[in-house]
């Protein structure tokens, strides 16, 4: 079995970067590796859909995820070059190598067609990203890393058990034992229902932990809060998207087997719970990065809810996935700049950010409007589509609750953000050395601008990719 280049090359580069002696060159190699990856992804997307082996094949949803991850990672890698320059006191060997390893693991998730392989990829993203969370090596970051690793590992272990249950359901159905998604989908009607139902519940808990759905979200504010902003961007934009795609694949399988109502009920319940928990904890939140983490919990809740609305909402869910990844990553990068300039990340330390860092502050402000789905940003469109699907299905109460929770989140995030952006900067911030430079604010600006542009005009090629992916994931439902 030959691993595809977008998986192998980042892993090989991770080793190369780790062995590079020059601390100046390691970040540059990271950015170069990200650029090469995007190039390879471009080539892979040109190949006809579905080419490759049985286990590793790029189907339409995989293509979408791979493109999303690659673009996002390139922006983050370019940002990381400037960031690591600002942190000369920290060793960057492990950081750069682990970043590339995360990229390789995320690409593996996009390619995986085998239940076990998918699991290996997602577990690998967790393991490779743990040292990134621990970058600052403080007591707080140890605590965050421990919780991240232990909770995620236990959650993912349950996902493995769930995958085995699904495999056993297929074994009971008779025929050849196979854990490949296409085979399972083709014989979905024969799967043993009790095993499939239990398996899906375990998978929802397992991959839901990795996504950060409530009540398994407890690691998220800690890990996102203590990790550098650029790591938060990769985690919130990339890793959660990988876990959501895994969950979508299993949702499709469960629905194809005739248990769609059961799966949808679970997804909608956990989605609403995540939105409500996030909304409650966002009110009065003082920590900017923890605020972004809870916002991510809310976005994951929206995705779960959209998945639970059935095949009709798959397009909206995937569009939301892409836009949330870009918007949230942009916010994390901008928050990283504020953190540098103000020496803290709570509204006690960050005040008057618009005055102190006019560019980064403005990007953060627009990022807030983008992520909360204000028109004309793209997330407005995807949320509107979700509401439309809910209304078309005659679920007015659900749509109303959804909109009410969105408003709650907006109120919470708005209060915190305006407290940080307005007013007079603290004495520390006025004297700190950090300056707003293009390499600091351009990457987040680019991401937020993407969310805006995709809201104004969705290019035909991307629309085609989204439609194809939605059709592939909605098939059989």
């Amino acid at each position: 079995m030959l691993l595809p280049l977008p998986v192998v090359v980042p892993l090989a580069l991770a080793v190369a970067v780790y062995l590079t002696p020059s601390r100046l060159w390691r970040p540059r190699l990271l950015a170069l590796g990200a650029a090469i990856h995007l190039l390879l992804v471009g080539l892979a997307l040109r190949a006809p859909a579905g080419s490759g082996g049985d286990w590793l094949r790029l189907d339409a949803p995989g293509r979408l995820l791979l493109l999303l991850v690659s673009v996002l990672f390139l922006v983050c890698a370019v940002y990381a070059v400037g960031y690591l320059e600002q942190r000369p006191e920290r060793e960057n060997r492990r950081f750069t190598a682990c970043m590339l390893a995360v990229l390789g693991a995320m690409s593996l998730v996009a390619y995986a067609q085998h239940l076990g392989l998918l699991w290996v990829g997602i577990e690998a993203t967790t393991l490779a990203s743990a040292p990134l969370v621990y970058f600052n090596r403080s007591a707080r970051s140890i605590e965050a890393t421990w919780k991240y690793l232990l909770i995620s590992s236990v959650g993912i272990a349950l996902a493995l058990l769930g995958s085995f249950f699904v495999g056993y359901a297929a074994l009971l159905g008779g025929g050849e034992a196979s854990l490949l998604f296409p085979d399972l989908l083709a014989r979905a009607g024969e799967l043993s229902r009790p095993w499939l139902r239990t398996g899906f519940a375990l998978l929802l808990v397992g991959y839901g932990t990795k996504m950060g759905l409530a009540p398994m979200h407890t690691w998220k504010p800690d890990a996102y809060g203590e990790a550098p902003g650029v790591v938060g961007a990769v985690l919130a934009g990339g890793l959660t998207s990988c876990a959501f795609l895994a969950l979508l694949r299993f949702t499709q399988l469960t629905a194809a087997a005739g248990e769609g109502i059961y799966a949808n009920r679970l997804l909608i319940a956990i989605g609403l719970l995540s939105m409500a928990v996030a909304g409650a904890l966002l009110l009065g939140q003082r920590d900017l990065k923890r605020m972004l983490a809870y916002s991510s919990v809310e976005q994951m809740g929206i995705l779960a809810l959209a998945a639970g609305l059935g095949a009709a909402a798959t397009f909206a869910a995937l569009l939301h996935l892409v836009l949330n990844a870009f918007g949230k990553a942009g916010l994390f990068l901008a928050a990283g700049n504020l953190h540098r300039a103000f020496g803290g990340k709570t509204t006690g330390e960050i005040r008057g950010a618009l005055r102190r860092l006019p560019y980064s502050g403005t990007v953060f402000l627009f990022g807030l409007f983008a992520i909360t789905g204000s028109p004309p940003f793209g997330l407005f469109v995807s949320k509107l589509l979700i509401v439309q699907v809910a209304l078309a299905a005659g679920r007015g109460w659900l749509a109303a609750l959804f909109v009410a929770l969105l408003l709650l989140v907006f109120a919470g995030m708005g209060t915190t953000t305006f407290a940080a952006l307005q007013g007079r900067p603290t004495a520390y911030a006025r004297q700190s050395a950090y300056r707003d430079r293009a390499r600091g604010y351009l990457p987040p600006l680019l991401l937020v601008a993407l969310v805006l542009l995709l809201g104004l005009h969705l290019p035909a090629s991307l629309r085609g990719l989204l439609t194809e992916a939605a059709a592939a994931l909605g098939g059989g439902r």
């Binding site: 743990a130 707080r140 140890i142 236990v154 074994l171 854990l179």
Partner: protein
């Protein structure tokens, strides 16, 4: 063959209770090592007629779970200057009672599910579920970092036991990947244990409580 398998699976369940009732961290690690060994033997006995593939995987998992990982945990235990008692949040006797209860529940739950064949599944499924439950119980009622890792290992052992039913469907590379992920995971966890000890002069995870709302 079947009676041997029954004895081995009973041993698996017994080790769960030993781990739950252990008063010292060292005994817990030894119990989980024994469980890894038992699982390897079960894999070979259950698929005795099977290929070299099963043999290689069983041996790899024995080396990993009965030797390499316990050695890593013992090393971490030696490096950190902590009391060797488990000091559980839930007393040892209540833990044992709960462990026995969850085992009974697992058997009852497994009884409600259909099985593909009559030989392996009726034995392995309840044992796997009970082991998973014991692992979760250890994870939530033990508060030292090393003991939480042991809980995670017991959980993983339960999943491995279930995986034995799917040996035919699991490609070798995927199985190897699962084992590798487990190894790297424990490795990273044991590194962090070292850092926790250095930073907090303790392995009590209740000290890890700065981050909260």
């Amino acid at each position: 063959m079947q009676s041997l398998l029954e004895i081995l699976v009973a041993g698996l369940l017994l080790v769960n209770l030993v781990a739950l009732g252990a008063g010292r961290i060292g005994s817990m690690v030894r119990a989980v090592a024994l469980q890894g060994l038992l699982l390897g033997v079960i894999a070979i006995v259950a698929h005795g007629e099977a290929s070299n593939r099963v043999l290689v995987l069983a041996l790899a998992s024995v080396v990993l779970k009965a030797w390499l990982i316990p050695a890593m945990l013992f090393r971490a235990l030696r490096q950190v200057a902590i009391r060797r008692e488990v000091e559980p949040l839930l007393g040892l006797l209540p833990s044992l009672v709960l462990g026995a209860l969850t085992t009974a529940l697992a058997v009852a739950a497994a009884g409600r599910l259909p099985f593909a064949e009559e030989r392996l599944a009726p034995l392995l499924v309840p044992a796997a579920l009970a082991t998973v439950a014991a692992g979760l119980l250890l994870l939530v009622t033990r508060r030292k970092a090393i003991t939480q890792v042991v809980g995670y290992l017991v959980l993983e052992n339960g999943i491995f036991a279930f995986g034995l039913l799917l040996v035919e469907a699991m490609p070798f590379l995927v199985e190897a990947g699962v084992l590798l992920d487990l190894f790297v995971g424990i490795f990273v966890l044991s590194i962090i244990i070292h850092h926790i000890n250095r930073e907090f002069a303790s392995l009590d995870t209740r000290r890890l409580s700065q981050l909260r709302e």
